[in-house]
């Protein structure tokens, strides 16, 4: 069987993006199941030094495109080089981070190769499929699981006929696993970038970039106090910051709360945000749509504070408090201050 490919993203400071290492870890698992190789497309400028971390996370082969025009990311140069690589290597599966880069690049590549692409998968597995009409059997397909239709259903998508089977996955959804010793060395292949590019690949010019380093790290927080649209306003949301600080944690938010301007985009938890697995998750004024739950249901302990006794979040909570979230949070803050249990 042909290889599994992961498109690797490079951060502003030249490191490998977390989401790419997570995809590699998942890719390693899939490659072992399929008994095939895991290969990485890593494009950038001045890339030396990224190899060891990629090998440690399971890569067998690296395809390196190291050229000034490959950083910062622009669609067309990356598109041309990746299409060139895929047309040569015919990957079985190709995985991308569901980031502003992956979601820009993957659909254009899928269109050129006329193959299927599933966005924002929450699980990837290998499995078989029998076409109900024709009875045709397919073995070892990539089963791509994602919530759909506003999160009211969970769909399993397959690409039976076209290759590569392409999928994007959000940061934090897959777990990062170091599967090899740090000194493991696999194969490194260098791509001749100028050979892949066409005259029109430089049409889009970057004039200025203002990219901040990631300041908010909710993925690594042990405690997350998260607010939904039900928190109502920014003032109430600031109470969550106070509670989170007392618990030594971070503040998260639902998509509705982020869309309403109550919290920064980096705090969004769920299918289209970050997936978190803290020791304690306090859901305040969150009803718990499946997209949100997809990003937090593996938390060790969940407290749900909600006025609606039927809110779906209550079903996955370890503790439910049926009351106005603002009032309960105020009481928790008071209790923590009085009790001097400060993390």
């Amino acid at each position: 069987m042909n290889s599994i490919f992961v498109y690797c993203e490079i951060t502003e400071d030249g490191a490998v993006a977390d989401v790419s290492l997570e995809l590699l870890s998942k890719g390693r698992e899939l490659a072992d199941t399929l008994q095939t190789k895991l290969e990485v497309a890593v494009f950038g400028s001045g890339l030396s030094g990224v190899e060891s971390v990629l090998f440690a996370h399971g890569a067998d082969v690296l395809h390196v495109a190291d050229n000034k025009c490959m950083f910062p990311y622009r669609t067309l140069p990356h598109f041309s080089v990746l299409v060139h690589l895929f047309e040569q290597e015919h990957p079985e599966i190709a995985l991308f981070g569901a980031t502003s880069i992956g979601r820009d690049l993957a659909p254009r590549v899928a269109s050129r190769l006329s193959c299927g692409l599933t966005a924002d998968c929450t699980a990837l597995e290998i499995g078989n499929h029998t076409e109900s009409k024709t009875g045709k059997e397919y073995h070892n397909l990539l089963l791509q699981v994602r919530p759909a239709f506003g999160g009211n259903i969970i769909a399993t998508i397959i690409n039976p006929e076209t290759r590569p089977q392409m999928a994007t996955v959000r940061e934090g959804v897959m777990k990062r696993v170091i599967s090899r010793p740090q000194n493991y060395v696999g194969t490194v292949k260098y791509i001749n970038v100028s050979q892949c590019l066409t005259d029109t690949d430089n049409l889009v010019e970057i004039l200025n970039r203002e990219i901040e380093a990631c300041k908010i790290n909710i993925k690594g927080a042990r405690v997350i106090v998260s607010g939904g649209y039900g928190m109502g306003n920014k003032e109430n949301f600031s109470l969550l910051h106070e509670l989170a600080a007392l618990l030594g944690g971070e503040v998260g938010a639902t998509r509705a709360a982020v869309d309403a301007g109550l919290a920064e985009h980096e705090r969004q938890i769920g299918q289209t945000g970050v997936t978190v697995r803290p020791k304690l998750y306090v859901a305040c004024g969150i009803s718990g749509a499946v997209q949100h739950r997809a990003g937090m249901e593996e938390s060790a302990k969940i407290i749900s504070i909600n006025t609606d006794i039927n809110a779906p979040i209550n079903a996955i909570a370890d503790y439910t408090i049926i009351a106005d979230a603002k009032e309960v949070v105020e009481k928790m803050i008071k209790e923590l201050k009085n009790g001097k249990i400060i993390a």
Binding site: R103, C115, F149, V223
Partner: protein, 295 residues
Amino acid sequence: MYNNKIFNIVVLAKQVPDTRNVGKDAMKEDGTVNRAALPAIFNPEDLSALEMALTIKDKLLENCKITVITMGPVRAADIIREALYRGADQGVVLSDRKFAGSDTLATSYALALAVKKTGHFDLVIAGRQAIDGDTAQVGPQIAEKLNLPQITYSEEIMNITDTRVRVKRRLERGIEIVEAPFPCLLTVHGSAAPCRARNAKKLMKYKHAKTPSELAEPGTENQSRYSQKPFLNIEEWTADHVNAIPERLGLSGSPTKVKKIENVVLVKKESQNINPNEEGIHLLIRELVNTRVIG
């Protein structure tokens, strides 16, 4: 600035079920989605795309023409009218049973053909993604099919000259200012300016605008009005009108297949209800400390 040359903008829009406000009646007894219970709306980011086109038209006045294309059922003409009320010049409903079951690849194929059929265009603008799928794939796929440079996550047009557009992009951790020559394709991020309200004069002018299918419905009065006022005719194109190859449409043109749809079944955890008074909170915090969840 255009010396009377018309600057043509094609806006791509989708009518979507309002998945943001899914009420209890939106799910049927058997757990399937009751689409009829969800209001059909103009996809929010496509409205922002329309606004971006309108701001360009504000600058260029008569030298700019905005054509809105939507692919969907016949009733999607609703959003064409909404676009006309806000300042679009003309609309096309791309509708055919052959499109049913299209994934993003088959959709982008049909839409790319429709964009081509409009004739000369300088700019294609679409919302980043539709709220019923959230894939953000159709824009970049149309750009590929039309061989256009793409600028995704556009937030604001910073500058426009007769050959180039400068755009501010909204990324996860910041912004990027990029410039591309025409023709190119932009997808618009939700953080862009919201769309202006309907214009009362335009509402009066276009409220009877109809597609041929709508005109053919029984009870449509005053057919002659439509031959006298050509602007009231919303174009309706089928797969044949855009010369689509049938195999590339609908299910046969879609490489992704739905293997399984599951309803979201919550496995109820054993949960403990906490009294929302001070005593209840006190006991909860103590338990969390004792079980080493916090502290």
